[in-house]
Each structure stands twice: as C-alpha cells, then as structure tokens.
C-alpha cells in the first residue's frame, strides 16, 4: 500500500507499477489497473481514451488522491486541480465563493472575479449556482480549478454532459486556457475528435495499462480535415475497437 506522494520532480505525473483491485463481491478481486507505468511531462496536454470500464476514471481518481487503495509508486505535482463530469459546485455558495473555496487565504473576491472573467463568466460572479446553465456551471468549475494555478489539471470527461454546441465552445476555451496557463493536463474522454483537437499526446488504456501511446504532431488550431488528423482518428478508433 502506498499513498500518493507529492514531490518536486521532473515530471508532473510519474507512476510506476500501479495496481488497483476491486472486490467483485464473490470473495475474489479483479485488477482494473495492473502494473501501469505513466509519465507526464510538465505542461504536456495528454488525452486518455478507453472503452467504458477500462479504468481510465479510476486512474484519474488515483492521481487526484481520491482513491488510496493502490499498490505501486505514484508521484504527482503538489499543486493539482480536478474538473469532474458534473460541475460539483456547492449550491449554497455564490459562484465567486465557490471559485475561491479551499484557498488558504481569506475568500478573495477580486481573485475570483479575475478567474471568472477568464472563462467568460464576469456577469455571473454573485449568483447562486442554480441559475447557471450546464455550460456556465462547467466553466465556473474550470475557473475554480485554474484559480489554484495548478501544475497538473485532471479533467474527467468534463464536456460529456454538455450539448454538442456548448461542448465545442468549452473545448475551445480549454485549449485557450491551457495555452495561457501551460499546466500539464490529463483529460479523460470518450471522444476521439476531442482528444485529437486538444492533446499533445494520446493514450489508450487497455487491459489495465497504457496500451497505446502516440504523440499528436498537428499544428494548432487543428483542422478535422487535416490528413494526419484523419489518419490518427482512424487508428485510434481501430484501437478502441470501432471500425
């Protein structure tokens, strides 16, 4: 058993021999992650793909220190932030208080306003989360993550609950914010195009470890019609078992 340890190292994420088992209820256990190794360089945008139930969300939860029942060695940046599938804002706190919740200093309204302005929510500073639309709530959650100036941003399918149009806008926003903040990002997603539009590197999780690891060397902003984009897309879909 080893907990997540934080250290000043060359990588934002460094994982060696990680295994996570779940009891299957019949007395035995199944390894969802088995002997997994992974390094993510500082500032690198990594997309993690995989079929449902392959353990990609479990890996993200382990890196977020939300799951400690693991064996192996996990080193991650001390300054981390997480964006979940649902915004998970505290409904009893005004939007700006949500953004600065958990920061060591006293609630700093100006800092919250700056972060909200960055995600285009300057007009939503003083409202209850209940009045936000789905896309706005997700942007507020992004502001809450980035206000912490993380070295590692973990995103667990942050756009999957949004409608198609909002998703495209949100994707553009993440791209833009990443260019500015240059933190390492691990984006868990189902969406191959989303992965190729955003990431420097795509991973596919298979049989409890990283089964495919390829760089994405397409100039930004990326064009879906680019032949390299098309080639990678076909390759990834084949990897994921979609033909």
């Amino acid at each position: 058993m080893s907990a997540v340890s934080a250290a000043s190292a060359v990588n934002a994420v460094s994982v060696r021999g990680l295994t996570r088992r779940f009891d299957d209820g019949a007395g035995s256990s199944r390894a969802v992650i088995e002997d997994l190794d992974l390094d993510i360089a500082p500032g690198q945008f990594v997309a993690l793909l995989g079929a449902s139930g392959c353990g990609k969300s479990t890996l993200l939860r382990i890196l977020a220190d939300l799951d400690k029942d693991v064996t192996g060695e996990v080193t991650v940046a001390r300054k981390r932030a997480v964006g979940f599938q649902a915004p998970r804002l505290m409904p009893w706190k005004k939007v700006w208080r949500n953004v600065v919740l958990g920061l060591p200093s006293k609630p700093d309204r100006e800092r919250a306003v700056a972060a909200l302005t960055e995600v285009g929510l300057a007009h939503r500073v003083d409202v209850w989360p209940k009045v936000l639309s789905g896309g706005e709530a997700q942007r507020a959650a992004l502001a809450r993550a980035l206000v912490r100036e993380p070295d590692l941003l973990l995103l667990d399918e942050p756009f999957s609950a949004l409608d198609a149009l909002t998703r495209i806008t949100a994707r553009g926003l993440v791209d833009e914010l990443w260019q500015r903040h240059r933190c390492a990002v691990l984006l868990v997603t189902h969406d191959v195009e989303e992965a190729l539009a955003l990431a420097d590197r795509v991973l596919v999780m298979q049989d409890g470890r990283i089964g495919y690891d390829a760089p994405v060397e397409i100039d930004r902003p990326r064009d879906v019609t680019d032949p390299e984009f098309q080639r990678l897309r076909a390759e990834l879909l084949a990897r994921l078992g979609v033909h």
């Binding site: 939300l66 997480v82 979940f84 409904p91 706190k93 919740l101």
Partner: protein, 292 residues
C-alpha cells in the same frame, strides 16, 4: 378560440388510403393559462370567506340558543373575554410565561439535538453509541414521561421545560442526522480536491447541506413543543396559558378556554412563520420546486 375541427375524423378503414381522400386531423386549440384565469374569483378571497362563514355560523348557533354558553361560548363573548383578560393583564402574563417555557425548552432541545446528531452523523463510533438509543427512546411518547419528570424535578418550572426540551430533541435529531448522512459524496470529493480538510468539509459542505433538514426538523419540533407545553401546563401549573385554561374548566368558563386555545394556535402560527422566514433567508440557494 374555436375548437371545431375542419373534419371530424380521419376515415376509419385503413383501406381508405387513396389519393382522393384528403386527410384531416382532429385538432383542439389549447387555452392559455392567462385566458383561463381571467374573470375568476381571486384565491385569497375564497380562502378568507370560508373561515368567516364558519364563525358567522357559530355565532348564529349561539345567538339562537342552539349552542349554550356552558358548551361553547359565542365568538362575541370570546372576543369580549379576550379584551377583558388583556385589560386586567392576565392574558399578557400567561402568554409571557408560556412563551418563556417554550423558548427555554427549545434552547435545551436544539442544543441537545444538534450536538447528538452532529456527533452521530460525523463519526461512525458516534452513530454506534448514540443512534440506537435515540431510535429506541423516540418511540416512547414524551407525554408519558410526565409522571417520571414530576418525581425527578418536582412541580416547578423544570419538569415543564424538560418536557418541551425532550419533545424538541427527538424530531430535530432524526431530521438532522438524516441530513448529515445524505450529503452528496460528489461534493465531499470535490471539496477534498480543493484542499479542504476535515473541519473545512464539515463547515463548507456537510453542515450547509444538512440545513434544509435542520429547518424541517425545527418546524416539526416547534409543533411538538407546543403540544408538550399544553400537557405540561395543565398539570400542576400555577401560571401560563394552560393554567388559565385549567382554572376556567372548574368554572365552566368556556369563553376563557376558547381564548386560551386561540392563543396556542396563534403562537404556533407565529412560530411557524418565523421558521418559514428562516427558510426563505437561509435556503434561497435551493433550486427547489416552490409550487405552481
């Protein structure tokens, strides 16, 4: 606003699908709500009229002698008695004494319930130690404890306040405990990733999320508090609304009894209004359905 369809029915037989038949759909024009409301008697008026009718009926029955004063005093007599009690000061002093008893019992009960529910809700060990006995004790009707309370605390103020306190503690405990245990685990996880420690999670996540349950419990508790007070005051009291009522019983003074009942009702209503105001103030963040 017409609802008349152009044709009444599509031809019944499926075989009738030939090009010479033009199809017609049976349509209705939907009335808009604003149109429907127009010209109706306002709701508040209906709500006000029915109690007034009841009181007028009561007065009529009294005036015609169907209801004699020993059974139930007439509304006019009741109002006169209330004014008289106000003028000689007995009404104010009775209300003051009773309100103080409820407040004292409420303070005692709220503190006990909050401490017990918080400890049981936040700690597994606390739940093991506290929840089982609380669940057993809450099945005992509080009113049934009066003889024991008199033996333990005599017949002064203490047994009455303790009785109200106990009546408040149980419903509030049950609701608050459930509220603490129903916290969204996703929010707890999020707060952990934001760097909140245990105290921060309790303060920023668990307690605010249990607030709606706390207020529901408080409202229910206030109801049982008045009930306990009525029982407490009709036994061995020398002051308070219940004492006035008991004294009146000996003289068949039904007017005073009705005044006292009305006082209990008004005080209960005021207490409920206070909690509702608290809910409006403290729960404005809630996306709850508030009725059509």
């Amino acid at each position: 606003m017409t609802t008349t369809p152009e044709r009444t029915r599509v031809p019944a037989q499926p075989s009738a699908v030939d090009s010479t038949v033009d199809f017609a759909v049976d349509t209705v024009t939907l009335a808009s709500r604003s149109g429907r409301r127009h010209g109706r008697v306002p709701r508040w008026l209906i709500k006000t009229i029915s109690p007034i009718v009841l009181i007028v009926l009561w007065q009529l029955l009294s005036s015609t002698g169907v209801l004699d004063d020993d059974t139930l005093a007439s509304p006019v007599t009741v109002v006169e008695t209330a004014v008289g009690m106000w003028e000689d000061g007995s009404l104010q002093s009775a209300v003051g004494t009773s309100v103080l008893r409820v407040l004292a019992g409420l303070a005692f009960g709220v503190v006990a319930a909050v401490v017990l529910a918080t400890v049981a809700g936040l700690f597994r060990r606390g739940e093991d130690a506290i929840d089982a006995p609380m669940q057993m004790l809450r099945t005992v009707p509080v009113i049934g404890l009066i003889p024991l309370l008199i033996i333990w605390f005599g017949i002064g103020e203490t047994p009455k306040i303790v009785l109200v306190g106990l009546a408040v503690t149980f419903p509030l405990y049950i609701n608050l405990f459930a509220g603490i245990r129903n916290v969204d685990s996703g929010l707890i996880e999020a707060s952990r990733t934001l760097g909140l420690g245990w105290f921060g999670q309790v303060r920023h996540v668990i307690l605010p999320s249990a607030m709606p349950n706390f207020l529901t419990g408080l409202r229910y508790s206030l109801g049982t508090a008045w009930l306990a007070l009525v029982f407490g005051e009709t036994i061995n009291a020398t002051s308070g609304i219940g004492y006035e009522m008991n004294k009146a019983r000996e003289f068949f003074a039904t007017d005073i009894i009705v005044v006292c009942l009305a006082l209990y009702a008004i005080l209960g209503l005021v207490a409920d209004m206070i909690v509702r105001a608290l809910e409006r103030g403290l729960l404005s963040w809630r996306p709850a359905f508030s009725g059509q």
